[in-house]
């Protein structure tokens, strides 16, 4: 399922945080949204998720205007994966994943056999079956992030919106989460993910949307978009984008390292 954002602008009072944003994510495509803090990444996500509906322009989910789609139906198309957070109550991992299926049952019902099977399948696919009886508060940050991904997959949405999924994770967990996300695009999920790390965007080797002050600075394939100049423009640091293995792998090295 595709996402299309057309001439999207959004203001908090008089302050414009998004200005004339247009892009399209085809089914099975991943878009990494980059930009410094306050660039408008979160607001863009809020608009797509229907949390901030008072925007100018249009957002189309699978060809249908997002604001015309009801809450439950939108949840069956678009799922949100928050940064691993601390909930107030210590639910088991299985319970949290099962809660992802809520939009599939009526308001006075409890997820049944079908939803329980779905939650089990998702846990198995992500390789976290052994966590299912653990309390969410007792597992590591990486495991929490996987639980949040599992919850979104149990929601059966085809479009996944991820807010900095690797923040607060150690190096090993960052790489594990990145691989998981990449695998999901291979399975046909459309993914829009925000990241601060250009190396992560290069790792996905798909599309990049670079935002600064609520405007699109550059947009296209990660190889074309991520350059020394872009990083300088977004984060005001000097890096050199290098490539290895006949340009199949790209990464950034800080200038302060290459100078010495």
């Amino acid at each position: 399922m595709s996402v299309e954002v057309r001439n999207l602008s959004f203001s908090y009072g008089k302050r414009e945080v998004l200005s004339n944003i247009s892009f399209r994510a085809e089914a099975g495509e991943l878009i990494a949204v980059m930009g410094p803090n306050g660039a408008g990444k979160s607001t863009l996500f809020r608009c797509i998720l229907g949390l901030s509906p008072k925007y100018d322009g249009e957002i189309y989910i699978g060809g249908q205007e997002a604001r015309r789609i009801g809450i439950a139906k939108l949840a069956r198309h678009v799922a949100y994966i928050p940064q691993s957070h601390s909930p107030v109550f210590n639910f088991s991992v299985f319970d949290i994943v099962l809660m992802g299926t809520t939009s599939q049952v009526s308001a006075v019902n409890i997820p049944g056999r079908k939803q329980v099977d779905l939650a089990n399948t998702v846990l198995k696919d992500l390789g976290i079956e052994d966590l299912k009886h653990r309390g969410y508060m007792q597992i590591s940050g990486g495991e929490r992030q996987l639980t949040m991904i599992a919850r979104a997959l149990a929601q059966r949405a085809n479009i996944l919106i991820m807010d900095e999924p690797t923040s607060n994770l150690d190096y090993g967990n960052q790489l594990r989460i990145l691989s998981t996300i990449k695998n999901l695009t291979n399975e046909g999920y459309t993914i829009i993910v925000s990241t601060h790390n250009p190396d992560h965007a290069l790792f996905f080797s798909d599309k990049v949307l670079a935002l600064s002050n609520g405007r699109i600075v550059n947009h296209g394939s990660s190889v074309d978009v991520i350059s020394n100049d872009l990083i300088k423009q977004l984060y005001d640091v000097d890096v050199e984008v290098k490539s290895l293995y006949e340009s199949n792998v790209r990464f950034c090295i800080p200038k302060s390292v290459t100078d010495t």
Partner: protein, 340 residues
């Protein structure tokens, strides 16, 4: 499968609580100032289905059906309601410290009752006045919170605190104006909470709003889980948090207002019992809600039995629940795993 076994465990806990409630209910019929033996109890109960020649006195039957039955049922309903309301509020406010009176239901009821006593109203008018003022107070809190900027949940809780303190001040003022010989003690006793002298009229008044509120809370309990993630996340999961919260507030207010208006102020049940239920069945409202309801009923029934049998004069329930509840809560928070 393991998750089936944990669900099985929770279902066994619920069954055990239901059996416990039935047992406590039967025992409650037997104890009291007018002794009834188990054999007499069963014979009297069975005679309603299979008419038999009574070997018991009419007085015995009257005590059973006109005094003990309404009181026992009302104790169950009030315990069940306060506990369910507390568990619900803890979920929708994402706050494990939330109690049934968080939106002012108790403060409003106290004011309504005090006002009625000041005007020498009858017993049923006192109940009605408490009920109406309780609902009005929560409605007021809700309307004010609508105008609050920022977080909706914080707005509700803060409005609840402010409006509650206004009505508490009003209650104090009424106490100041009241006749110190009869009205003031009546207000004071009412505030301490009691089920003494429960009549079937009160039970009939209470049963419809309570059954309605409890049934709806039980039906939508899965949705309360989703609200604990916050409004935005709930929405991305397909749940209209505002609507679910309003439904929960209406139901929880209905059952709290009814409880307080028939029994006065009974603290601690709505805070302690849901926490105990969390220990038993976990935080998932699928099992937490029915466990809280059953446990609340058992707890208040036991406490009411103590209240009417421990001393020659009845001990107000509010005092007993605090005596039991506060030390128990201290015990809970000092155990390693914490209160949640």
């Amino acid at each position: 499968m393991p998750e089936r076994s944990s669900r099985l465990k929770n279902n066994i806990v619920l069954l055990a609580l239901a059996i416990g409630l039935a047992a406590v209910t039967l025992v409650s019929f037997l104890i009291g100032r007018y002794p009834i033996t188990p054999y007499e109890l069963i014979s009297i109960l069975l005679s309603k289905i299979f008419p038999t020649e009574p070997f018991w006195t009419d007085r015995m039957e009257a005590v059973l059906f006109n005094v003990r039955l309404p009181r026992i049922l009302l104790a169950c309903l009030v315990g069940c309601s306060l506990s369910a309301a507390g568990a619900s509020y803890q979920g929708i406010f994402q706050n494990p410290m939330a109690a049934p009176d968080v939106l002012g239901a108790s403060a409003g009821a106290a004011f309504g009752a005090a006002l009625a006593i000041l005007n020498d109203a009858s017993g049923s008018m006192i109940t009605l006045s408490a009920f109406v003022f309780s609902l009005v107070t929560v409605a007021l809190v809700y309307i004010i919170s609508k105008r609050a900027k920022g977080s909706k949940i914080l707005g509700l809780i803060l409005s609840g605190i402010m409006v509650s303190s206004l009505f508490s001040a009003g209650t104090s003022f009424i106490k100041l104006m009241a006749d110190p010989n009869d009205q003031l003690p009546a207000i004071t006793y009412w505030l301490m909470g009691s089920l003494a002298g429960t009549k079937s009229g009160e039970l009939l008044f209470a049963v419809i709003p309570m059954a309605l509120g409890l049934a709806i809370l039980l039906l939508i309990r899965w949705r309360i889980n989703i609200l604990t993630f916050g409004d935005d996340e709930a929405r991305t999961m397909g749940v209209n948090a505002k609507r679910v919260r309003l439904i929960v507030i209406i139901c929880a207010t209905l059952i709290t207002a009814t409880s307080v208006s028939v029994s006065g102020m009974i603290g601690w049940v709505g805070l302690v019992i849901p926490h105990l239920a969390r220990r038993l069945v976990g935080n998932n409202y699928r099992h937490l809600m029915p466990a809280s309801m059953l446990f609340g009923a058992i707890f208040l029934l036991v406490v009411d039995n103590i209240s009417r049998n421990l001393m020659t004069t009845e001990i107000p329930l509010g005092i007993l629940t605090a005596f039991v509840g506060a030390p128990f809560f201290i015990y809970l928070i000092t155990r390693e795993a914490g209160i949640t």
